[in-house]
């Protein structure tokens, strides 16, 4: 019998005037030493499942039916007190954001030992020893000292380690990890996921990994439950699911992933509409309204979770894919891929030869660090952007990728004028923005617009979308008011938004539509360049693909250029002609997208590629590299020479002494700054003129 068995679990949340049927008949089972991945779009009930097992439901939440058996014991029949002894003892949980889950007024050690004392009745001293032990288990350097520090003294990754230590202190049988790495950087994400994997094997725990990230789940889960609208729609082993999805929802999720179309550059599939409102769940299959294969039967009858065999079960009348999963992999449609890649590179080269729209030369941004309340004397500087040069051509998309804190967002802010550079120059259409007179600068700025990561936060919540859209036009007094309204209607048409949306408030939109409005506003002034700062990272994959498709369409329609900033390499690769990789304020590598992706030169780029989870179990399993070790050093006092040397696997003495210059590797302006590159430099390896970058 499985360690945890969930049978027909139903959970409801009572609101003031309605009841949300959050979970409706969930069946799950996890064995010891096994990882079950729960995946789905936001709002599909993933977290609610985890919370129901823990019985930590939000106000008004109640488990109204089903069974949750841990080791044969029905958790739902336990009293509140008995449940207290299960939580934190038999079941450990890791939450998404370690910053808010740790008590800022208690030391790490005390917080961990607290649960040991509660559950094991250990003395203070024993509990503290156990806490230090748990910290060393999760790979916290010098655990005895770290046990005495407060949460704010630790980095995000270390905090999450402390959270894991807390969850593991009592050696639980089951560990529930709810989006454990969503708040962390990719390099740290890899370290934490690896840690959870190792601990699972070491302690023989069962793990439930809740995530929206198909890449994370592909590499870490043994089996997967795909959830949609409070139901499990498909469940099977990881390999079988990725190789042969049977439910149209699973298939659609996979098809909306940008990495699936990165090489071909095809349009992404996106799931139309939104998940149903769970206060009034639809009859029949809940996915029917968004399903491209749905027939009348789907809308009236509900398909049961069944399947060809015990291993692979799905709830669909008209399953997609092959009825029997063949173990030997199907031949991938590779032959055309190469041709497509060269085609894309050629196209990119054409764009690179187009007119240069924006050129950045030696851009520097330091933020002063001050001390003292009154005099605020300068004691140092955060080097956010250090000597970055790059250019964006007409109609081209340049992707900028790197961990958070690498300065990519600051570059974006400098370009749109939200920050003033400390040094270097910004040339737009050949005109230096800093030198241009005020009125001309204003005019030039109109041609560069920013698309925000969170369009909702970037819209005044008290303004109607009409006013939001009017604002840039009003500020620049473009044409007559009637003409402005006409232009807004035209743009809404262009981005595929109904005109009725103008009379609504930003909060009435779904995430994807807000991002559409955000893009529409950025387009209002008819800019030539749009700086898009993580425009899809807050969106679900199915919605993300809509926005990416739209951005592509608009580019070919209007001849826009994009500077696309993201931490997500697969999104960057899908959209970009060229990719620039930033590390700690420096541009370490830049070149044609395919070349950087498949043939990187810099060790950091290689590490990033290995670190970023890919939604393909085969690729994930093939990854041998440990990714990037350690954490981003402080930008206040960046490492000498090559800034990456502290985390570089190949670092030697020269890296600390001499700062590497951008050098050409290959014919396509593929440049990298490394003393010990992964492949030899191009024959004429001269220092590159900024004009070439």
């Amino acid at each position: 019998m499985a360690l945890l068995e969930v049978i027909g679990l139903r959970t409801e949340i009572r609101l003031k005037r309605s009841v949300v049927h959050a979970l409706d008949g969930i069946d799950l089972s996890v064995d010891a030493g096994e990882t079950l991945g729960i995946v789905g779009e936001s709002g599909c009930g993933k977290t609610m499942t985890a919370m129901s097992i823990m019985q930590l439901l939000p106000n008004g939440g109640n488990v109204v039916g089903g069974e949750i058996r841990l080791d044969g014991r029905d958790l739902l029949s336990l009293s509140a007190q008995e449940m207290d002894s299960v939580r934190g003892n038999d079941i450990g949980m890791i939450f998404q954001d370690p910053t808010t889950s740790l008590n800022p007024t208690m030391t790490i050690g005390r917080q961990i030992s607290e649960s040991v004392r509660i559950h094991r009745g250990a003395s203070k001293k024993e509990a503290h020893e156990r806490a230090v032990e748990a910290l060393s288990l999760v790979g916290m350097p010098s655990p005895a000292q770290r046990a005495l520090v407060y949460p704010h003294e630790l980095s995000g990754g270390m905090r999450q380690r402390a959270m894991i230590a807390m969850a593991l202190a009592n050696e639980p049988k089951l560990l529930i990890a709810d989006e454990p790495t969503t708040a962390l950087d990719v390099t740290i994400q890899k370290q934490i996921l690896e840690l959870i994997d190792n601990l699972k094997q070491q302690l023989g725990m069962a793990v439930i990994l809740v995530t929206h990230d198909l890449g994370v789940i592909a590499g870490r889960a043994d089996k997967i439950a795909v959830m949609y609208a409070g139901k499990v729609v498909e469940t099977t082993s990881t390999r079988a699911l990725f190789a042969n999805p049977r439910h149209p929802y699973t298939e659609a999720l996979f098809q909306s992933l940008p990495e699936r179309s990165a090489e071909s550059g095809d349009r992404l599939y996106s799931i139309p509409g939104l998940p149903p409102d769970l206060t009034k769940p639809p009859t029949g299959c809940r996915f029917a309204a968004r399903c491209r294969y749905a027939v009348d039967d789907c809308r009236t009858n509900e398909p049961p979770l069944a399947g060809t065999d015990e291993q692979h079960r799905f709830a669909c009348f008209l399953p997609v894919g092959a009825p029997v999963y063949r173990t030997e992999a199907e031949p991938v449609a590779a032959p055309t891929a190469d041709a497509v890649v060269t085609e894309r590179i050629r196209e990119s080269r054409d764009r690179t030869q187009a007119e240069t729209l924006l050129r950045i030369e030696g851009l520097v941004k330091d933020y002063p660090v001050t001390a003292g309340l009154v005099l605020r004397r300068k004691v140092g500087a955060v080097s956010a952007v250090a000597d970055v040069s790059l250019s964006v051509h007409q109609g081209e998309t340049v992707g900028l990728v790197g961990e958070s804190g690498c300065g990519k967002t600051t570059v974006g802010k400098l370009i749109v004028g939200l920050e003033k550079p400390t040094g270097g120059s910004l040339l737009f259409q050949g005109r230096d923005l800093a030198q241009a007179p005020r009125t001309e600068r204003r005019r030039l700025r109109r041609d560069v617009q920013l698309m925000f990561q969170d369009s909702y936060a970037a819209m005044n919540p008290r303004m109607l979308v009409r006013s939001v859209m009017r604002e840039p036009l009003d500020i620049h007094r473009v044409d007559s008011p009637a003409e402005r309204d006409r232009r807004i209607r035209e743009i809404f048409d262009l981005v595929g938004l109904p005109l009725s949306a103008l009379e609504r408030y930003p909060h009435e939109f779904s995430g994807g539509q807000r991002q559409r409005v955000g893009l529409a506003r950025a387009l209002a002034l008819r800019p030539k360049l749009i700086v898009a700062d993580e425009p899809v990272s807050a969106l679900d994959v199915s919605i993300q693909s809509q926005v990416l498709n739209l951005m592509r369409d608009l580019q070919s329609e209007l001849g826009l250029s994009y500077l696309f900033i993201s931490h997500d390499l697969s999104v960057i690769r899908y959209l970009s002609d060229r990719i620039g990789v930033m590390y700690l304020g420096k541009l370490v590598e830049i070149g044609p997208a395919e070349s950087v992706y498949s043939n990187p030169v810099h060790h950091y780029t290689r590490g990033l590629l290995d670190t970023i989870p890919v939604a393909d179990p085969a690729v994930e399993a093939a990854k041998s590299s440990q990714g990037i070790a350690g954490e981003l050093p402080s930008a206040i006092d960046p490492p000498s020479g090559c800034r990456f040397r502290t985390r570089c696997p190949a670092a030697q003495e020269i890296c600390a002494q001499v700062e590497p210059k951008l050098t050409a590797y290959g014919p396509d302006n593929h440049l990298a700054a490394c003393h010990l590159p992964l492949r030899p430099a191009a024959a004429a390896s001269e220092e590159v003129q900024p004009a070439l970058v």
Partner: protein, 305 residues
């Protein structure tokens, strides 16, 4: 542009079921729903409406001339012709209560509004500009708040006069410090929001940001505290009048009536004390309760239903 099939297939704005079936409710509407759930607040609104009706419509049906002294009928206890008796000048108490209540409400509302406008503007500017200007502006507020406001009021009314207009200004200009602090705090939080960045990036200047983005988003705080400051203004005016520095006869307000009444407390002329006292309490209490309910309404607007 030809739209891709999946984008055209997308239902307008939101598919049925993802939002309530009713038409999109405006913020005010949803705020009102929360407000209406607070029965105490509804009672306060009703009481306030009654008092306003009593003070402003009452005089149309009842003799409320407070300028004619009738020495033959001083300090009469309630009886026929004078339901609430008469005062020391022989003026009908009920009529005087209507007129006095009018004055108190007028001055309170006007002074409270001045306080709200001045406070919100000052706070928004200080918070938005920041730096040493903000520090200086807030130290001015701190020093104003560091001694009892009643002294300031006494000084102002003795020096600049006790007419209705001057009293409105005096009370208004001494009661905006609290609002300023709150609005400044919010402005500090709002000015780092993305939508302010977005507006700056589009090229808007400080004035536009303050009026279009900062002030509208502090409206909740401002409205709530305006109701409190109206209550405070009624209170301050009553205090001033009680110590004889408010409106001068024949003008009257509730505080002044209370002052006169307490002079006769030892004789047991209760009808000169309780009616104005009760009306003052009801007005202040109502505004405070309404303010509380408004705060809830504005806060839960941001929460999910």
């Amino acid at each position: 542009m030809t739209l891709a099939p999946e984008t055209t297939a997308e239902p307008p704005v939101a598919p049925p079921g993802s939002e309530p079936d009713e038409a999109p409710r405006s913020m005010l509407r949803r705020g009102w729903e929360v407000f209406a759930e607070n029965k105490l607040a509804l009672a306060a609104v009703a009481i306030l409406a009654l008092i306003i009706g009593f003070c402003f419509i009452g005089p149309l049906f009842y003799h409320s001339d407070t300028s004619v002294v009738n020495l033959s009928a001083v300090t009469q206890s309630p009886g026929t012709g004078h339901p609430l008796g008469t005062d020391n000048d022989g003026i009908d108490e009920l009529g005087k209560l209507m007129v006095g209540g009018q004055t108190s409400l007028e001055i309170g509302l006007a002074a409270g509004s001045i306080a709200a406008i001045a406070g919100a503007l000052y706070g928004a500017v200080a918070g938005f500009v920041g730096g040493w200007i903000d520090a200086l502006m807030m130290r001015v507020i701190d020093s104003m708040m560091s001694f009892p406001l009643i002294f300031l009021l006494i000084y102002l009314s003795s020096v600049y006069g006790k007419s209705k207009g001057m009293l409105i200004l005096e009370v208004g200009l001494t009661s905006w410090f609290g609002i300023t602090r709150l609005v400044r705090g919010e402005a500090l939080a709002i000015k780092v929001r993305d939508y302010v960045d977005a507006s700056r990036m589009m090229g808007s200047g400080g004035t536009r940001i303050i009026f279009k983005h900062i002030l509208p988003n502090t409206i909740g705080t401002t409205i709530v505290n305006t109701t409190f400051s109206i209550a405070d203004a009624v209170f301050a005016l009553s205090t001033l009048s009680y110590i004889g520095l408010g409106l001068q006869a024949p003008n009257n307000d509730l505080g002044g009536m209370l002052d006169v009444g307490t002079n006769y407390a030892s004789q047991g002329y209760w009808w000169m004390i309780y009616p104005p006292a009760v009306v003052i309490i009801l007005i202040i209490l109502s505004f405070n309760v309404i303010g509380d309910a408004l705060r809830d309404a504005f806060e839960s607007r941001l929460q999910k239903r």
